[in-house]
């Protein structure tokens, strides 16, 4: 158990409250959506001091978003009284890098330029680790995942297996790390993330008529909804499963998501609603004035904001109409 003392967060929380005013609120996101073209939408980001000031060309917006993410993680790492908390969130970026590097190795190509610099290990460091197969610095879950990936690929030659194994390990690591901290808020966060990931995967896989064998392997453990519940639902149609969920706190959200899916055959509506459910949990941190909660909430706020900005910029560049962009936006923190 890693102790988390509320009062240690006094400085961090003060700084974060002052930073929160600069988050892009509904008004500013609206200005981006209603802007005439991508270039004008991009100006809002320049005003908000996004990235490292390289905001002249909207075609480089992905780079600006990556810089903004890096800035956020650097800030949090600097002010965090318990460095492990930030590391727990950074590791998912390491898993992403590991995935990209392993896939490149299996296909015999150079790794593409999409490695991210927000992991616990730097880009060059993780490249070296994978190239030299020197895993001593990695966590046990990472090592196991890499070994499993080599094993699965040598048997099946299927690059999709890499995605499945590494993504699952990434969640296992995250949940494992969060449960290490002495904080009910982080434990509940872990449970909610497991549940919404499982529900989303389950409904997606069911609508693709996947077997239980496939689904059972992907289910994450440690959520409020047990594996038996999913298994019991497997014999019934998906409607019945959605109906069974009504006794849980996810009931309404999943029901609305399922209605969207049956009406429009579009599963991303459910995904958005589940993300919004998570954000409404995070939003409760607004009422907490001291402790790890506002600290983590800022990270989620920033991640969601960057995601929304990406949705808007891609929409603008591809000339989507305003309502379609608005429909896809995630619930923000402010």
């Amino acid at each position: 158990m890693i102790k988390i003392k509320q009062d240690d967060y006094a400085y961090a929380v003060g700084l974060i409250r002052a930073k929160e005013i600069k988050l892009l609120d509904g008004d500013r996101l609206n200005r981006m959506i209603e802007a005439q073209g991508a270039a004008e939408a991009f100006k809002v980001l320049a005003e908000a001091e996004y990235g490292y000031g390289n905001t002249e060309n909207f075609h480089s917006f992905e780079q600006v978003l990556a810089e903004e993410m890096k800035k956020t993680y650097d800030l949090l790492a600097e002010i965090s009284p318990v460095p492990e908390v930030v590391d727990a969130f950074k590791k998912k970026h390491d898993y992403f890098n590991i995935k990209v590097l392993l896939k490149a190795e299996f296909s015999g190509q150079e790794p593409p330029q999409i490695l991210v610099d927000t992991g616990v290990f730097g880009v060059e460091q993780i490249k070296r680790i994978i190239r030299e197969r020197d895993y001593s610095e990695l966590t046990p879950i990472m090592m196991q995942a890499i070994a499993d990936t080599y094993d699965a690929f040598s048997r099946m030659r299927d690059p999709q297996a890499v995605d499945l194994i590494i993504d699952k390990a990434s969640y296992d690591q995250f949940v494992n790390d969060l449960n290490e901290f002495d904080s009910p808020f982080l434990h509940e966060l872990a449970r909610i993330i497991i549940d919404i990931t499982n529900i989303n995967m389950y409904i997606r896989a069911r609508s693709l008529n996947k077997s239980w064998d496939f689904i059972g392997k992907l289910l994450l453990k440690g959520g409020e909804i047990s594996e038996e519940f999913y298994f019991a639902g497997f014999d019934k149609p998906v409607e019945a499963f959605v109906d069974d969920l009504r006794r849980t706190k996810y009931g309404d959200t999943v029901k609305r998501g399922w209605e969207l899916y049956t009406a429009k055959k579009n599963i991303s509506g459910l995904e958005k609603l589940l993300d919004d459910f998570l954000m409404s949990y995070i939003r409760r941190s607004k009422l907490i004035t001291m402790g790890v909660e506002p600290f983590i909430a800022y990270l989620f706020a920033k991640e969601t904001e960057i995601r929304n900005v990406r949705i808007i910029m891609t929409g603008k560049i591809n000339g989507l109409n305003d309502d379609l962009i608005r429909e896809r936006l995630r619930l923000g923190y402010v």
Partner: protein, 151 residues
């Protein structure tokens, strides 16, 4: 032997020590907490120094009250003091010391929250101060009780 150590004077000094020491600890903790949050806000927006400082200083009053009580008790001490008189002054130091400790820590928390409030809504500095002053009332009551007990 023991009668020579535990005299009326000893207990009276002990009461004075508790009044200042314990209340002072509370103020240190309260001001410290509010100060850290204040530094966090100022690192992002240095223009708020005025209101941040005002809020940060509020939990320091408990130490001042503790000082007043300690001063009054010490003023009552004389060489011919009997044990009962000393114990009475010892008891008089307790309300200010204990209530001072607790109220200063909680006032520090309210001040830290108030500093977060003004970082977003600078116009709410009045409300932030009022909220923190609510806690002050208990320290003031403790001060009055201690003064009445000293007599």
């Amino acid at each position: 032997m023991l009668e020579q150590i535990f005299t009326g004077q000893f207990f009276a000094y002990f009461g004075a020590a508790i009044a200042f020491l314990v209340a002072g600890l509370g103020s240190s903790k309260g001001v410290g907490l509010a100060g850290q949050t204040g530094a966090g806000v100022l690192s992002e927006d240095p223009s708020k120094f005025g209101s941040v400082m005002l809020l940060e200083a509020l939990p320091s009053t408990q130490a001042i009250y503790g000082f007043v009580i300690a001063f009054l008790i010490i003023g009552k001490i004389n060489d011919a003091m009997v044990l009962q008189e000393g114990l009475k002054l010892f008891a008089a130091g307790l309300p200010m010391g204990v209530v001072g400790l607790v109220s200063a820590i909680y006032q520090g928390k309210v001040s830290a929250s108030g500093i977060q409030l003004i970082s977003k809504h600078p116009e709410s500095v009045g409300s932030a101060i009022t909220l923190a002053l609510m806690v002050e009332m208990f320290a003031i009551l403790a001060l009055i009780v201690s003064i009445l007990m000293i007599g």
